[in-house]
Symmetry: C2
Subunit: 161 residues, 2 copies
DNA sequence: GAAGAATTACTCGGATACTGCGTGTCCGAGTGTAACGGG
DNA sequence: CCCGTTACACTCGGACACGCAGTATCCGAGTAATTCTTC
């Protein structure tokens, strides 16, 4: 079990767009070249970000992608949900109701929640809460703290200066 | 991204062994029949639990598996680690150091940690902490709270009474 | 009748196929840009 | 010189292959119980 590598690609791409500063759209080819990524596959991930409302796509010549809102209004959870979808980490198959010790639904009673599923759900909720508290602007600031030249490096790498 | 279904199988099997009470080993066939699971595949998962120190295996006729320690000393994290392994949810591929904006390692400098990886790591740590706090004995008690007849139901289903 | 050895039946354990999702790639639809011609 | 039209080049967007991890299965090694033989 591991997150798709598209998550890492998406976050770094969002950071690069933020460092670029201007609202000009950037093509997938440039964004991919920035980190030696597969152009087509990155494009697929960016489409997911558009569906998730994190990016805007500009069609036509001189088109590309740009941030839909400032990084301050984006969390890691937003990225993960956009790329991975909102499916839970733990999917309960309700095996408790099968086999020789299967818990039969009492007549007229409703299905009580599975204790295993509840416990896993609580842990997953902690994960999502922590992801929601990880602001993308903070991540960007953290990266700059150790490498102040990053912004200009991105502008140079994407041919802006 | 989702956890292996082996996690659900393992937890329910551990609960069944606890409800059974006696320290007698139970064969994989009986444990699988309890919830209509694949015998061979469940056996593979139980072997992982043995390697993780949660179960003991008894070979030979009238053998099987039994709990290695009481449920009070087991957490959901122990199960997840035994089944899934201790690999992190987010694996940093260090793409930040590649491509046109790749962060080159300064001469003589050490590699500072990736800000993206750090943020993901913090969230994952929250998940693991929550999993570690979910005691298996509590899960068992939670299940019993809504279905007091479960213990006897398991003993009957596994042919103990 | 009791003890010991051979046999048997049952168990775990790891090596071997299959499937679904993540990964990667390709080509077509759509649009903004630029060139070109006419007024 | 300015405007409208046409062609073009570039972009996104979704449809199409590939590979690997999770899933499922099978057969062999090993052990405890059982049976049989012998004292």
């Amino acid at each position: 079990m591991r997150t798709s590598k598209g998550v890492e690609w998406a976050v770094h791409t969002l950071l690069n767009l933020a460092w670029l500063g201007d609202g000009e759209p950037v093509s997938t080819a440039q964004l991919a070249a920035a980190h030696d990524l597969s152009v087509s596959y990155l494009n697929k991930q960016l489409q997911q970000l558009v569906k998730g409302g994190l990016l805007e796509s500009v069609p036509g010549a001189r088109g590309g992608f740009r941030l839909a809102r400032p990084l301050e209004a984006m969390s890691m959870l937003d990225v993960v949900l956009a790329i991975e979808g909102d499916q839970p980490l733990f999917r309960c198959a309700e095996i408790r109701r099968c086999g020789t010790v299967g818990e039969r639904v009492p007549t007229g009673g409703f299905r009580r929640p599975c204790a295993v599923n509840s416990a896993m759900g609580r842990a997953e909720e902690a994960w999502r809460k922590a992801l929601a508290e990880e602001n993308l602007a903070d991540v960007k600031a953290d990266a700059e703290a150790h490498a102040p030249a990053l912004a200009s490096q991105v502008r140079r790498g994407l041919g802006r200066d």
